[in-house]
Amino acid sequence: MLLEKEKKGVEDAVWDFFCSLKLGISMLILMATTSIVGTVLKQGQSIGEYVQERFGRLYPDGFPPDLTQAGYDKIKDGFESTYRFYDAFNFFDMYHSWWFLAIMALFAMNLICCSINRLPRVLKIVREPELAPEDKFYRNMSNSVELTATGSLSEVRDKAAQVLAKKFAAGRVTEGPDGRVHLFAQKSVFARFGVYVTHLSILVIMVGAIIGVRFGSKGYVNILEGTSVDSVGNRDSRQGEIPLGFSVRCDKFTLDYYAGTQRPKSYRSDLVVIDGGQEVVRKSIVVNDPLNYKGFVFYQSSYGESGSASYRLRVTPRGGEPIEVEGKKGEHVALPGGASLAVTNYVASHQNMGPAIQMHLNTPDGQHGTPFVVFQNYPGFDKKRGDAFAVDLLEYRQSFYTGLQVARDPGVEVVWVGCTLMVLGTIIAFFLSHRRIWITLCQEGGKVKVLAGGNGHRNQPGFALFFDDFKKELQEKLS
């Protein structure tokens, strides 16, 4: 007997522990403080990167000349053992560490238990409101009034019901066995559930995150202009390539600059999805506007030059006919008469005058000429240089590859449902109040005694103001 009682005591204590607000607050504060670690220590660092970073901070101006190899090794050993110490606690991947996940799991348990614990009480308040209160019920209320009305009970009841409906909400009439008549009305019942909607939303977001980790994948891929891929690399290096089940071609990558500057304005990749041998989707993606196909989303992330650039020039020898010259950046291209030219650089905009190349001409005896600039938008301009050859830039073409992030996250919709619930839940919980009004009428002598009272589960001062107004209306109409 005694043992059983004790056992029950332990179970209760465990249950109370998981339900307690104290646990919830402790978990919130624990998550807040432990999370700081991962913002101070760079996540995903290797021991080498860590040691390098620490040395960088110790000697920001380079190693001092009097530092011996032994001294260096000693400091390095110190840094390495610090790294191993932190690493033992998973501090370099702390948000996925067992202990951080355990804190979150405990937090989730707490949310579930406290909701299970409290919901029945709230449901009872909502489903079974007091419909036939006694006089002392009103006396305990902070907003109540007692008045006397003339007329029959049913007349007063109808008038009171009218006031209630006009000023608040339609009431429910209950006739007691003792001849007393009660009116009850309520508003914003769901305000009671705001807290639980918020709690639920956190759990929904957690479920969405778990679905994403379990069934989603994060990849990346570089696609050369004009080529296509049918699988992408996995950002988690422990796992292999991610097959797409279709292929993606990049027709063109374009880098635009703000007019007259070197500031990138947009990175654009013209992508084509080929599924079952058919071109199914064509889309130009930019940062902030990805391509979505069969659950895979392709995001513009980086780019790079691939191979050397090619160009087309129109070269006019002094007094001769123009010829067209093609070449690759950096190479020397022969010109009639033994001279040669080389294009060494290209900028999208030079001195606010649009695209330009830097180049030089070599004389037939191999002498290196002075570099000069040719603008694409000003044909004929180069003649003014007065050299043996005048040059116009017709086309300059650099091949690029586009770097894409690829993500598939089947949990993301669940996360958005959770986020929506969270916004709704917090707004309901903080700004809406479940308000109730009771009115009880009873025959006393030739008159009717009227008791009225009400409360709001939140924003009491606001309700008090409203109730004053309601009281006035009731007094006016009933007496």
Partner: protein, 290 residues
């Protein structure tokens, strides 16, 4: 002061001077207890806010007048964000002023806005820069507005909490037989201050929640990951945890009053670290383009 050629920056210089004068008058009000001084201070704050609003709108317009298609909402770099933060603080202040009509609060709320304005106008570059591709999104506007309205509500909660601590110690002295004197005489009662602290956080918390969510939605839209434990994201979550703890602690007894005030101040310190500390001390995605 800031001497860029922009008209809006000029106006913001005057706004800064106006806020400074308003703050001085608010302090003077606490000392001399003249309602006229309070009215002058409050009028300056209101006029300052109007000019501030106009200047932000003008800067927006000016960005579209610049060559090279650089027009965008003025919410994109550190200068613009600090100016906007100061604006949201004033906005929340005037809303509280309309509801509570407690002028002494101005003395504790305006300094936050003034520090921001001084910093922005004296040492941050006010040039209008074209948006880098990553920031070219409508989410930027939603994200910044919700976050900063939340931050401003927390700033007000912090100011009110500081007042609370002063007021409570004055009230304790009074209860011990002393007379209530000095600057705290015109403060609202500690009960009202405590309630204002709670209400400000109640407004700030859903806004911060919305700010974090719009940030996550944007990150998902731009990079395909709604959460990557980047230091800024993590710190915003830390701030969220602190205020969630505050709101829950209030339900249990013993956590209203002094402890709530201290927690509110700690929460705002975390907010400021999230806003500035992360950028100045740590590294990550929110480097304001620098």
């Amino acid at each position: 002061m800031n001497v860029s050629g922009l008209m809006s920056t000029q106006i913001l210089n005057y706004v800064t001077v106006g806020y400074f004068a308003a703050m001085v008058l608010f302090f003077a009000y606490l000392a001399v207890r003249s309602e006229k001084v309070a009215l002058a201070a409050n009028t300056l704050a209101w006029v300052g806010l109007l000019a501030h609003t106009f200047a932000i709108g003008l800067r927006w317009y000016e960005s579209y007048q610049m060559p090279g298609d650089v027009g965008h909402a003025p919410l994109s770099n550190l200068y613009e964000s600090v100016i906007f933060f100061a604006w949201t603080i004033l906005l929340i202040y005037v809303l509280i002023d309309l509801k509570y009509k407690q002028r002494s609060i101005g003395a504790f709320v305006l300094p936050f806005a003034l520090f921001g304005m001084l910093w922005a106008q004296m040492s941050l570059s006010s040039n209008i820069e074209p948006l880098v591709p990553a920031l070219q999104s409508n989410w930027l506007t939603y994200h910044v507005i919700t976050c900063f309205l939340g931050y401003a509500a927390f700033a007000v909660a912090c100011g009110v909490s500081i007042m609370y601590l002063f007021k409570v110690s004055a009230e304790e002295k009074q209860a011990a037989g002393g007379s209530i004197s000095g600057l705290t005489a015109l403060f609202p009662t500690s009960r009202i201050l405590d309630d204002m602290n709670y209400k400000s956080i109640m407004i700030g918390f859903p806004l911060l929640t919305l700010g974090i969510i719009t940030g996550a939605a944007w990150a998902n839209y731009a990079w395909g990951t709604y959460w990557s434990w980047d230091p800024k994201e993590t710190w915003s979550l830390i701030v969220w945890f602190v205020y969630a703890a505050f709101l829950h602690a209030r339900i249990t007894r013993g956590w209203a009053g002094k402890r709530a005030a201290i927690l509110s101040i700690v929460g705002f310190a975390a907010t400021i670290f999230c806003y500035l500390g992360v950028n100045l001390v740590l590294s990550g995605l929110h480097s304001y383009g620098s």
